[in-house]
Subunit: 175 residues, 2 copies
DNA sequence: GACAATGTAAAATGATCGTTTTACATTGAA
DNA sequence: TTCAATGTAAAACGATCATTTTACATTGTC
């Protein structure tokens, strides 16, 4: 595995498991199996490393959301939380831990959320033949965020419940 | 104002604004206007202070949710985010920042979520004359969490959208 | 075979972390 | 008036923070 990939994937799991601020650079270097000199050559800084981790996660996440129905969208989220665990949205967590004060991080968060929002709008338009309005899409988005958050303490079943709800809303808008 | 109250309210706004781990004890003592000796006499430790802050917030939040309809429930949440700001659920943020590894914090989070869940179940049962099942209540809970999370980057309007959706779901179950 | 790049290991940087301690002032009740 | 409680101010604690530096080994390439 490429050294940069190894660093980013090690950092991602540590950040996800223990939080961003609580994870120190020495733990990062140890987990990634490299010297701090090499880490800084590739990452630049801790904030930059966080941004890179989020950027990679964004790609991986959106790749999973490459579907064309609301039902499939929530099934994809269900798969995600079963594989990657349900510790909440890592983008919002990073944003919250840094108080929204780190531009690099705030920007990746905003870009990620814009990506998800676009995907949902696209799917809703597709499934309702354009009859679905922006309000419906925002309701789906809220269910999506809600499922992610609720799964933290109620488990992956919350995503299934959200899926049933979302599918029903879209059906009602299409009929 | 009581010294303990002053400490907890100063701590709450700093934690909310800058994050838990990122907020140091010196900044806390400065904002609360007291020496670190006094702070530790009242709080015991930082983790304990976080737990106390969350515990007080839990009471204040649930007091606001003393309503008897889903519409009023989401209107209460709307008021909350307009007054207190929308930086996401502070309980889930604390839980995430500590990796769920601090029992004091994990317990307050769980207790808070149980309280919200009970309240929602109560309201749903009331509004549907017992016709609403557990699934409906969980859908309302997911919309509630989703509104809180989405409001971080889309503003308080997300709560209004969630309210419309929740009211519709309850109406459909009651008819 | 020299050179630039890329890596490791480990020490040093100065700042900040959470927490405790030392020394002293104020207060209210016995 | 003395005692215990409660507060402040400030220094000290050892640990850890993110980051840089020093010294050295291993490469692939011209």
């Amino acid at each position: 595995m490429d050294i940069k990939t190894k660093l980013i994937s090690a950092a991602e799991s540590l950040f996800d498991r223990h939080g961003f601020t609580a994870t120190g650079m020495d733990r990062l270097t140890q987990a990634a199996g490299m010297s701090s000199r090499t880490l800084y050559k590739h990452a630049g800084s801790k904030h930059s490393l966080i941004a890179k981790v989020l950027s990679e996660r964004d790609k991986r996440f959106l790749r999973r959301l490459d579907v064309s129905s609301v039902d499939a969208l929530f099934k994809a989220l269900e798969d995600w939380v079963r594989v990657e665990g349900c510790r909440g949205c890592l983008f919002l967590r990073a944003y919250g831990e840094t108080g929204g004060d780190v531009p690099e991080i705030a920007e990746v968060m905003a870009a990620h959320k814009a990506g998800v929002w676009n995907k949902i709008q696209e799917i809703v338009a597709l499934e309702t033949s354009g009859r679905g309005d922006e309000q419906l899409a925002e309701q789906i988005l809220i269910l999506f965020e809600g499922a992610t958050a609720t799964a933290i303490y109620r488990g992956a079943d919350a995503v299934t419940t959200a899926r049933h709800c979302a599918v029903r809303l879209v059906k009602q808008a299409s009929s």
